[in-house]
């Protein structure tokens, strides 16, 4: 219950960010994290008037960091669902996240039914995994990989025929691997990202919500989305 008090008292907020998920969180040549989630973390810190300590996390340990108070917030492309809400609390959404299926131009995929009998790489446990699992025909071979990069590597190296991933991730991938001839096939889900707060830390959650709401009105959210995703944030819940 006292997370916000602690933050204000120590003048320090610890925020968990990804380092394996460009353009949301990845490292520069100095191995320092950068990306949309990192900017968002710094933005919240500055609005609170406290220093930010970035904690690089993986998908396996980001929630334990929050639960054991080793991090105050998790800004790590978290999507929301009912099961997850039983464990942590979510603030308002701060960035858009579109997931889509990509495949080589030579392959005709106009709807999910066309995925039948094809292998699709996806990052395990990500929202696109859950979505795809729901909508793909049972004969689709969904291959779930540890992290976003492994997923992309699997597709790039030809270990899967299609890939379901974030739009901005895919853009980046296609730019770097033109030989694949991959293109957008079908939109999977529009699933914006939320910030995670430990269960019951309402004061902190409301405070962050305030900051997000203000940032939406001021256009800061859109600016961040433009910078990293190349398009404005659009309407967020």
């Amino acid at each position: 219950q006292a997370a916000l008090d602690g933050v204000m008292k120590n003048k320090l907020i610890k925020i968990a960010v990804p380092t394996d998920f460009p353009p949301y969180g990845f490292v520069g040549v100095d191995l320092k994290p950068q990306g949309l989630d990192v900017d968002m973390a710094n933005y919240i810190g500055s609005k609170l008037g406290v220093k930010v300590e970035l904690v690089p996390v993986t998908s396996a340990n980001r929630i334990p960091y929050l639960q054991t108070k080793k991090a105050d917030l998790v800004i790590s492309t978290l999507g929301k669902n009912a099961e997850r809400e039983a464990v942590i609390d979510f603030t308002a959404a701060y960035s858009p996240f579109f997931q889509a299926v990509y495949a080589p131009k030579s392959m005709t995929i106009t709807g999910f039914a066309d995925l039948a009998g094809k292998s699709v790489a996806v990052t395990r446990g990500a929202i696109e995994d859950q979505e795809l699992t729901k909508v793909a025909p049972p004969t689709a071979d969904i291959k779930r990989f540890e992290d976003n990069n492994t997923t992309v590597s699997a597709f790039v190296s030809g270990q899967s025929q299609a890939i379901a991933t974030g739009v901005s991730v895919a853009d980046n991938m296609i730019k770097r691997n033109p030989q694949l001839g991959a293109e957008f096939k079908v939109l999977l889900k529009d699933s914006p990202n939320f910030i995670g707060v430990a269960k019951g830390e309402d004061a902190l959650r409301l405070k962050v919500n305030e900051i997000i709401a203000a940032a939406k009105t001021s256009g800061d959210i859109d600016a961040m989305a433009k910078k990293w995703l190349g398009r404005p944030a659009g309407t967020l819940p």
């Binding site: 380092t19 394996d20 998920f21 460009p22 353009p23 990845f26 490292v27 520069g28 040549v29 191995l31 950068q34 904690v55 690089p56 996390v57 993986t58 396996a60 340990n61 334990p64 960091y65 639960q67 054991t68 108070k69 080793k70 992290d147 976003n148 990069n149 992309v152 590597s153 790039v156 980046n172 991938m173 770097r176 691997n177």
Partner: protein
């Protein structure tokens, strides 16, 4: 997005390798001390020691190191014990390493002929003296090679410390891969660096082993 030159990759990996080395040293020193204590307890046949130590060995050899690290860092915090990443790494790696070392060393002690114990005993040496002056010096000779060999496993095992936030060699590799989309290049460098760290150690272990067999 970000353009890493080969030098950037190598430089960052080398910097991260420092943590690999530091964690290995912690694991080895901590594991060595605890392992020795367990060995003595077991060799002295303290009541219950045998069961306890073999349970300990079973537990820490029978579960993934990744999980041990995870539970040492986050699990203890669940019970209100605030552990820093360094403490957690030291604890988990020590437990893990000692569980293996005590097994390795037990074999070495067992390899000292029973007659050596008996001769020392019949010369009125106390148990501690038998161990310290007669058995351990001989067991050490046998133990050096497999112990140094195990060091290699420890070095590779520290890769898992990334789960509690250490950016050591493997983790740095993953992070760079995620920014460069060049897994082969980066993992080749990572593999090479592990090889450069471990191979001399393996080689040294092998020379020791040969030397031991030669003047045996």
């Amino acid at each position: 997005m970000v353009d890493f030159s080969l030098w950037d990759i190598v430089r960052n990996l080398l910097l991260a390798a420092r943590w690999t080395v530091a964690l290995s040293l912690i694991a080895f020193i901590g594991g060595g001390l605890v392992g020795l204590a367990l060995l003595v307890a077991r060799t002295a046949r303290w009541p219950g020691a045998e069961t306890l130590v073999s349970g300990y060995v079973q537990l820490f050899q029978g579960t993934p190191l990744l999980m041990q690290l995870f539970l040492a860092y986050f699990g203890l915090a669940l019970f209100g014990l605030e552990t820093s990443a360094w403490t957690a790494a030291a604890v988990a790696l020590t437990l893990y390493t000692s569980a293996f070392l005590v097994e390795i060393w037990r074999g070495c002690v067992a390899a000292v002929p029973k007659g050596q114990w008996e001769a020392a005993q019949s010369l009125a040496l106390s148990f501690g003296e038998q161990l310290r002056y007669v058995v351990l010096p001989q067991a050490t000779r046998i133990a050096i090679a497999p112990t140094v060999g195990f060091l290699v496993q420890v070095v590779k095992g520290t890769a898992l410390a990334s789960v509690i936030g250490f950016v050591e060699l493997t983790k740095a590799g993953t992070m760079i891969t995620n920014a460069t989309f060049a897994p082969f290049l980066v993992y080749s460098c990572v593999a090479l660096m592990y090889f450069a760290l471990c191979f001399p150690v393996s080689l040294y272990a092998r020379t020791l082993e040969k030397k031991f067999h030669a003047n045996h």
